[in-house]
């Protein structure tokens, strides 16, 4: 039982990060139909920028804020310079553009930062808390709380503000949204910026636990994409559930089956789910976009 609880804790922590990556995916996909494979790079940028600003002597709270702002700017630049310039290109072309962007960002990080692994001090102590025989790092609770706050804020913003309503309208039908006077360019740009900010925060939160380096983004983008698909692409609930589920599955597989096959189990489950439910867990029927 203690063992199970332990796997549960680590699965939830990782799952929260996957969920944040997946929600970024969903935000961008809904607003613009773009599957953004550079989403993982935002997570990397958040962690690495904070680390290196810290090295440069900037106090960590300030470094954190600056890292989030810088990543947000990168997200907006990705939209403005690449996606908007290539507007109305087909889905696969847009995917390749975001992959090109992720190679570029990784290459730039290699030069601006370095190729080593880095960590950040945890927000509270690094002594694990014991619960029912299992240990949980205080930072894991920070990650979970952080993810919850971000999701609630995002939900409140989308549901309760005029700007949020414009985002929903843009996701539903871009042309119709333009007809009622919504500047969809600004909305889509804002979604890219928000997705980047969410990614950066996720990166900063998780770095004390998993460490970070210039190339952590690829696998995170892969897992985030898989989570979003598992839940059903375009569904925010699906993204969160898919992320948590994927994290839990990985942790349980690593614990009970084999650590080296943990990624395999996750993907096997995704294949199985898709075969049984070709639209993902929460996806709507129809939509063929590639």
């Amino acid at each position: 039982m203690a063992e199970f609880l332990q796997f549960l804790f680590s699965g939830l922590t990782v799952g929260a990060i996957y969920a944040l990556v997946a929600i970024g995916f969903t935000l961008i996909y809904n607003a613009s139909d773009v599957v953004n494979f550079a989403q993982g790079e935002f997570v990397m940028l958040g962690g690495m920028t904070t680390v290196f600003l810290g090295y440069a002597g900037v106090p960590l709270p300030l470094a954190t804020i600056f890292a989030i702002l810088a990543t947000t700017a990168v997200g907006f630049a990705l939209y403005r310079l690449a996606i908007a310039t290539a507007h109305e290109a087909d889905a696969v072309t847009l995917i390749i553009i975001t992959i090109g962007a992720s190679i570029f960002i990784r290459g730039a990080a290699e030069i601006v930062f370095d190729k080593r692994f880095h960590s950040l001090p945890p927000l509270f102590s690094s002594d694990p808390i014991r619960i029912g025989g299992a240990a949980i790092l205080p930072q894991s609770l920070v990650v979970l709380a952080g993810a919850l706050i971000i999701l609630l804020l995002l939900w409140g913003f989308i549901e309760r503000t005029l700007f949020g309503k414009a985002v929903i309208a843009t996701s539903a039908n871009r042309i119709a949204a333009r007809l009622v006077g919504i500047n969809t360019q600004i909305i889509v740009g804002a979604c890219f910026a928000a997705a980047a900010a969410i990614g950066a925060i996720a990166g900063i939160l998780v770095t004390p636990i998993t460490l970070t380096s210039y190339n952590v983004g690829t696998l995170l983008a892969l897992k985030g994409f898989a989570s979003a698909m598992l839940g059903g692409i375009g569904s925010a609930t699906g993204a969160v559930v898919g992320g948590i589920l994927l994290g839990l599955l990985e942790a349980l597989a690593a614990g009970y089956v084999s650590a080296s096959y943990k990624d395999a189990v996750a993907f096997l489950v995704i294949l199985a789910v898709l075969f049984a439910m070709p639209q993902g867990l929460f996806g709507k029927a129809k939509v063929e976009r590639v």
Partner: protein, 320 residues
């Protein structure tokens, strides 16, 4: 029939478009000053073979695969494992690899091809990642993440060492593969595939076995990739799980899209760009990846239909 007419008839044959390419293949080695050139050229044709297969699937049938390097892995590890562990000599191992790829494609293709759009993308991605994980973890068979050496292929009693024989083999194979692809496109199957690309429902209404055709082209694409994977392993005499990794799959998709979806010569151009570019950019050392990312983005933004179709359209416009 006058000889001129006969030539004209020949020139209109669809396979005639391959003649200039064959001439280039024959003449290009005149410019090669070292084995390094043969090696890079062989790599271009090897990746072009895999990209060509994927292009049939993506460009003509409109089905995306983000796990196609998985089949390259099957081909590569067949020629590695066969001779080392099973006592099968390299040539039969190569054929066996293609057959295994075919079988896997049939078994996996059936359920996967029912999915559409991004769901198909993630399922194929999962398939590729699973194979890469298996190659990494089954260290007893594959040598794990460090990879394993591959024995030379012996043809007519001579072991094929170095890059030169592989240049000729891969270039010839590409020509054969392209001829097959051109014939396939003009066949009833090819027309059905293009129909699926335009409208799956309409094609089904015409009585086409859509699922069967999709599966067929998936199997063909798998065999192309498997052959390319085997060649790659035999050329390098060494293989690591990277051959079937996610980045390799993405690279193959990028080759197809960069060169031009649905363009046979586009597959070759896309492969050439993505194989030669990193070699050339190695001069820039640290800036290599940044430049690669920038160029990929730039080409996709400004020549979004791919290099070959965009350039062809530009020429056609000027002529008018």
């Amino acid at each position: 029939m006058r000889p001129v007419d006969r030539f004209r008839g020949l020139a209109q044959h669809r396979l005639f478009s391959l003649v200039p390419l064959a001439v280039v293949i024959l003449l290009m080695p005149l410019m090669f000053t070292s084995a390094y050139y043969y090696r890079v050229a062989a790599l271009v044709f090897i990746f072009a073979i895999a990209a060509l297969g994927l292009n049939l699937l993506m460009g003509f049938a409109g089905q995306v695969s983000l796990g196609h390097a998985g089949f390259m892995g099957i081909g590569a590890y067949s020629v590695a494992i066969g001779p080392t562990h099973l006592g099968i000599s390299p040539l039969p191992s190569f054929v066996l690899g293609a057959m295994v790829s075919m079988l896997v494609a049939i078994v996996v293709g059936r359920p996967i091809l029912r999915l559409k759009g991004h769901y198909l993308a993630v399922a194929t991605l999962g398939f590729g990642v699973l194979l890469a994980i298996a190659f990494t973890n089954e260290a007893n068979w594959t040598g794990g993440p460090d990879g394993m050496t591959v024995r030379h292929l012996t043809l007519l009693g001579r072991p094929l060492r170095g890059a030169e024989p592989w240049y000729w083999i891969s270039a010839t194979t590409f020509l054969v593969g392209a001829a097959f692809a051109l014939n396939l496109i003009e066949s009833p199957t090819g027309r059905a595939l293009r129909g699926i690309h335009d409208s799956e429902i309409a094609t089904r209404m015409l009585g086409v076995d859509v699922a069967g055709k999709k599966l067929m082209i998936f199997v063909v694409a798998a065999v192309y990739a498997s052959v390319a994977g085997s060649y790659l392993a035999l050329l390098n005499s060494y293989i690591t799980p990277d051959v079937s990794g996610f980045l390799r799959s993405i690279e193959l998709v990028a080759m197809v899209v960069l060169g031009g979806m649905g363009s046979i010569s586009g597959s070759l151009v896309g492969a050439a760009v993505l194989v030669i570019l990193p070699q050339a950019l190695a001069l820039f050392h640290d800036y290599e990846h940044m430049m690669l990312g920038l160029i990929v983005m730039g080409v996709m933004i400004f020549l979004r239909r791919g290099i070959v179709p965009s350039v062809a359209a530009a020429f056609a416009q000027r002529r008018e």
